[in-house]
């Protein structure tokens, strides 16, 4: 349990990009860095429509270059240049206008889909946590709502 009551979250709102988004922020490493890959995807709402005002934060871990953030474009697309995570998954935070508090999720590398945590997720939802390889790197779509809604996580301590 927390001994102090946490401050509640509120939506990031529509007007965050001028403050939080820097052009280089989505490049955790230079595209020319050995091993650099792209992790990209779309943020979609419950009607399958793109969310053009979302902010995705990527944690790869490891060192000073282990974190970045990217705003979605008009088609709901985001993209990071990164190295592979130092573990089986990338840790992801999702913020958006209309989303009242941040959401956490994981993008597992497909070759690590035998991970015990994933195996503990209902089979019909497990795939929402696994990135798909493509020619640029990996694709990871985030669905905020609906039948194929992404599994979002809570880390609440008891």
């Amino acid at each position: 349990m927390n001994t102090l009551a946490p401050t509640p979250g509120q939506t990031v709102g529509p007007f965050f990009s001028f403050a939080l988004v820097r052009e280089e922020g989505a490049d955790l490493v230079s595209p020319s860095h050995p091993g650099a890959m792209t992790l990209h995807g779309r943020v979609l709402d419950g009607a399958g429509e793109p969310v053009p005002d979302a902010l995705v934060e990527l944690t790869r871990g490891g060192d000073a270059d282990g974190w970045g953030r990217a705003a979605t474009d008009d088609e709901g697309r985001y993209a990071f240049t990164t190295l592979a995570p130092s573990g089986p998954f990338f840790a992801i935070t999702v913020l958006a206008r209309g989303l009242l508090d941040r959401l956490f999720t994981r993008a597992y590398l497909p070759e690590r889909s035998d991970d015990p945590f994933l195996q503990g997720i209902a089979e019909d939802r497990r795939a929402t946590l696994v990135a798909t390889p493509d020619e640029r790197g990996y694709v990871f779509d985030i669905r905020l709502q609906g039948d194929d809604e992404t599994v979002f996580l809570t880390f609440a301590r008891d």
Partner: protein, 256 residues
């Protein structure tokens, strides 16, 4: 019955209708639920953007026990003063806001990034999509950053933001607020929220503020006027402490 989906992001509803919806949701509050309701229909933009399935409990592992470190060299101390970022002085009430960032165990969050953004004194954001016909202040950008000190303390000098209209419903106005973005000692403590000002008459009308059903939890977003922070002949002062969730990292010897 109103078709909520059809009215998403449009201004069909009146304030009275929104008030009735907010009262109906407030009556469904459950002890121990997360402070902020993600599924909060009075905030129309949330209708298609909230998860409908329960959040999946996870023990943080590996990189989730890690947090980014923003070195002193990446943040210019002048970024904590939003009134000196241009050649002239911004209009409005000059104010200081200061407080501590603590985690749920009462430990200060040290040397960590705090980011803020806000509207100007007229209630206008320096964002191309803000179409509110209030003046842009050429001397105010409305964004600031700083690192907390060794005791978790932050301080910003800024201009008190104005309230502004939005299109959630007819004649909808947001209470004046400053957006805050905070990092903790691990990934799971991330917090993005809004700080409000005491006594704002728009509190009871605002579906974003009211999406926190517990009044005590809502009040934790309201800064306190502090005459000890106010500076003579210079600026008013507000105090606002921020509490993140508890860290999952094993505390180090020097954490206290």
């Amino acid at each position: 019955m109103t078709n909520l989906l059809a009215s998403s992001d449009t201004a069909h509803s009146t304030q009275a209708e929104i008030d009735a919806e907010m009262a109906a949701v407030a009556a469904t509050a459950v002890d121990g639920e997360p402070a902020t309701r993600l599924d909060y229909p009075p905030y129309r933009s949330s209708l298609l953007r909230h998860p409908t399935k329960a959040l999946h409990p996870a023990d943080p592992e590996g990189i989730e026990l890690w947090t980014p470190v923003f070195g002193e060299h990446t943040i210019d101390p002048v970024e904590a003063d939003l009134t000196v970022q241009h050649s002239g002085e911004p209009l409005g009430e000059r104010m200081k806001v200061t407080g501590r960032v603590l985690d749920g165990d009462g430990r200060p969050v040290r040397h960590q990034l705090v980011e803020i953004w806000q509207a100007n004194a007229a209630g206008r954001y320096l964002h191309q999509k803000d179409q509110h016909p209030a003046p842009i202040d050429p001397n105010f950008s409305g964004l600031g950053r700083c690192l907390t000190d060794g005791e978790g303390r932050y301080t910003f000098t800024t201009i008190k933001p104005g309230p502004y209209p939005w299109r959630n419903h007819r004649n909808a106005w947001r209470p004046a607020h400053i957006h805050f973005s905070l990092f903790g000692d691990d990934f799971t403590q991330r917090l993005v929220t809004q700080m409000y000002f005491p006594g704002d008459p728009l509190f009871s009308l605002d579906p974003i503020y009211q999406s926190i059903l517990d009044p005590r939890a809502r009040e934790r977003l309201v800064a306190t006027y502090d005459h000890g922070v106010t500076e003579a002949e210079w600026c008013t002062g507000y105090r606002w402490d921020i509490v993140l969730t508890g860290s999952h990292r094993t505390p180090r010897e020097d954490d206290r």
